[in-house]
Symmetry: D3
Subunit: 228 residues, 6 copies
């Protein structure tokens, strides 16, 4: 749901550093989510329309009426290379706000995807285009163009606050938002985590147990775990 | 849910013209839905069991008891080449009414798929057979053969009225029903829409904005949209 | 939900015969479920993270707190070749209890998969590893390691009782549990069913009707079915 | 969902006999539903906003856009004494289409309630007014007045076809629709059922078993029921 | 879901001591659930049909087909004074298995209520009778009498194992099952808990903080809680 | 979900003027929501535990782990007269975080209620106390006290951003949040709306139509509405 009066388009938003965004894409959702202290995850009903997509991008946010996709057209003009649209309806809607024509337009502006707490359609063509979308529903239901919303205002999308310019990381595990101003720091932590994980993976693959690697046996015993 | 007393099989139903049906298949769900005035879409929880299937076919309707698939056997005998089974239970059920044996039988009669507001099973084999199913659930739960339903009566399937002989259009975006007697007219409108879309696509791909192509700026301003 | 006081690890559990388990894997979920009298099916919201996986394995059960995956580490030590982890939280949770590191560890012990009435993450890597998971959700949400649960106690997972050592059969149709002591008998019935189905398939493919093959016409007429 | 092109108000609809409607109200939803052969029940998510209301009335149907209640104002003019509004949105919506002002207007025209496959608000005042509403949701979310729908066209409401002038029976058990032309016949059957039930009730209250009253023991034994 | 072959009625089941059952009723669901180690709670979608009912009773269990209430008639004969029916369908169903006639019959046998992982109807009369029901749904949908189930076998109801003769505690907070053989011990712990709570209540009502009463400040500080 | 690192208690928060808050309570949720431009409504699954409660109060926010109610004890110390607790878990949970003991403590501090995007228990006692709670679930499931969250940080509760000190308006229609700094202005608009509504109500009660009062006929005709 939206948190601002409707009818506003903010044209000038700050974005995170492109190298930082690229780095976050390589880390993936689960690692980034952990690295920033287990916050920022959108609701797990947000699913990709095809498997294998993995992006990080700057959010161009859209607050839109239920069943009305007018503001997406407004938002496309605000898209710069490396941006992703993030849409939250004022109230719940499964309608199909977005299809292959809009994707063509977004891509022509340099945009790289869509996160939408509502429906999407033209799935087959979007998949062929390899234009990634994370959505609540796949639904062909058409929308109208009657009521204003806003572009580039803070929104709550799938249970999480997203500010314009925040970094969206999305892959097969879901969608995570990273505050723009914390992105560089989160990347540093995420990379440290990945390095640490790689070492762990090799020990686990060799048959060592997490119980030993993470030194859990004593703590479990202290809590009262009994082997019978 | 059903709208007629149970225990009736209507054997002689009218179907739309085969060329019209073929044409609707080429247009796809989203276009057909728009072309007929944004009506006829089944609920978005109806999902295909595998990606990429796309059909249009004449509905052989089944009104069936919850957890009882007896009437599918009755319906198969009514299937002609180019038909699709459309099943709605009297009351909600996720049971697995349909599997690869029934699909084999439907295909042997010339049938091309199934739309079911309930469950389906043998997904792997159905996928190998490329026998498309749109369903509410994938569920192995077996069914009984105890209670009558009806075949080829009007049903409400996933929130939409389906008459026997109506045209079902189904693809990755979901399922849409077109009234038999309106099918030719809808096809005409759908093709016009596609032609129009192709021109739009090229302009959008070239970087033109929907705001300009659809001449929206003035209307947005009139509604009070503010750029800041 | 759990049915025992927490904090217990049962180390010595009986398992079904390896040949029987292998046989059940070949039969698949729908056939096994029917063969044992249409029982044992977990709720249909349990879905595989990728299509095509098909396993049968001995259950190592985990009763775990919501949002706390500590006991998975404990359970991994109990895994023997041919085992599958089966986790039920005390109360509903969609959190991502399990990812690629734990999968690496389970595989190193000879384990073959996971059934979890909660969330899983690192989907892309798990798919690349071809490590099958059946879950209620895909969710990157991290978990804590604070509270004890139990390993190898009877649990209710997705609506079905699972005892340690029971045989889990899982494929694209869902997940079915077979009691360890009934596994050999169920296999016999499942194989008989498959043999019978193959004969039916050929007749159906040749255009014969289920109405005739299963001799249904008289019974339908007796129930009052009318052809009009 | 709607089944007609939008933008039409049908002003002259037939209604069932007032005495028949009154009789159906006295029978209640469960009895009427059974009397007409277990059909006509709307989805069970349709719940009354307060307990104890029980009505039968002629349907004035509304096909409305999601989140847009304009057509309710249009429909109120069509309400005659003894009518009930029945609204289905084109696509799913939980918005609060209806509140105490509209209820005041409906009542002033002689209308007796609302059935809405969407949301309602001003629950407290509606309860004080004893104006009954059966809805999918209670939700204060405001609606717009931008897009046309239709009044007095056939609609599918909560999974069931409702024609204008059909009789709606609604109480604490839910909502049932009776075809206008079948209403008198259904009433006759419902009354017979009630008379029969009263005799059964007295025998059951005296301790007789349904097993004996309905003569079930032999049929159960024939099916193979075993007492151990 | 059921865990036994169908078609069996177990006539002779053990029940807990009547005084113990009475004591558990006085403690209520939340206290009993905590007293037995936070286990035994049925899923929270199980809601009472009216507020204020509070019972404890011995479970007479029913494993029933979806949409088929035949076995309830069989079960009523097995009801003794102080029993409660507990029904789980083989696969999910919202149908209205139970109404006022069956309630009259159950009450005539001394039964005190129903817990059903499906639907119930005749809510108004059941409320007037003060016959308590905890259910997943209120639904007038009628059921058939065609297929066998079982009575007094272990069942999984709303996610929890219930054995015949287990004690069911149910009130406005939901439904909890206590193993028959543990009932006396759980009662002892529940009463101790209540006594302890009463003292706490008075201190809290006087304005003391849980932080101090439960001595939490140090532990919170140790975990790193910061006041700013 | 939370938007800050955990483990922080903000002790000094600003609150809106007490007279303004009182005024908002008198206006109710639907009117306040409209008055501030149809924003601020929490998801409609947030329902009161009993009918008739109506409050406006200053939010003391709680960001809590799933199934862990430790931070409520911390938050109670921060409650001042006229405050309401507003809790959002990090990830979805239905557990029963709150019962009559905590309510006793909150009330002793002058607190007036709870809004919780999770479960609550001891419903019967809370109702007797007339301590209002709006929640996602009623659930007796106990919680632990193991992991830190935060108090008085911005949270997203049921899809809406809530800052500490924002005004919560809640009644039978649901829950609405008003920004602290906008509260006086929203009250002014809400009162104007109420005054306007009263005049409308009298005209509607006298039989005038909204079509005429709101001057809709011309606009409907312009959109193409046809009377047949």
């Amino acid at each position: 749901m939206s948190m601002k009066n409707q009818g506003v388009v903010v044209q000038d938003i700050a974005r995170a550093d492109a190298e930082v965004i690229k780095g976050l894409a390589e880390c993936g959702v689960a690692t980034v989510h952990e690295a920033q202290g287990r916050i920022g995850l959108l609701a797990s009903y947000m699913r990709p329309i095809y498997a294998g997509a993995s992006v990080a991008a700057s959010a161009v946010t859209i607050s839109a009426p239920p069943g009305d996709n007018w503001m997406i057209h407004v938002a496309v003009e605000q898209v710069k290379a490396g941006d992703i649209l993030v849409l939250a309806p004022f109230s719940p809607s499964d309608a199909g706000y977005f299809g292959d024509l809009l994707a063509t337009s977004v891509r022509a502006r340099g945009g790289v995807g869509l996160v939408i707490d509502a429906g999407v359609r033209d799935i087959k063509t979007l998949t062929e285009m390899q234009f990634p979308v994370w959505s609540k529903a796949v639904c062909a239901q058409g929308t109208v163009k009657e009521t204003l919303g806003s572009v580039n205002v803070p929104i709550v999308c799938a249970g999480e606050l997203v500010n314009p310019g925040d970094v969206i990381v999305a892959d097969d595990d879901g969608v995570c938002v990273v505050r723009r101003e914390e992105a560089a720091d989160v990347l540093k932590k995420a990379r440290a985590r990945l390095a640490n994980e790689e070492a762990k993976r090799q020990r686990l693959a060799a048959g060592e147990l997490g119980l030993d690697i993470y030194d859990m046996r004593q703590k479990l015993a202290a809590k009262g775990l009994k082997y019978v």
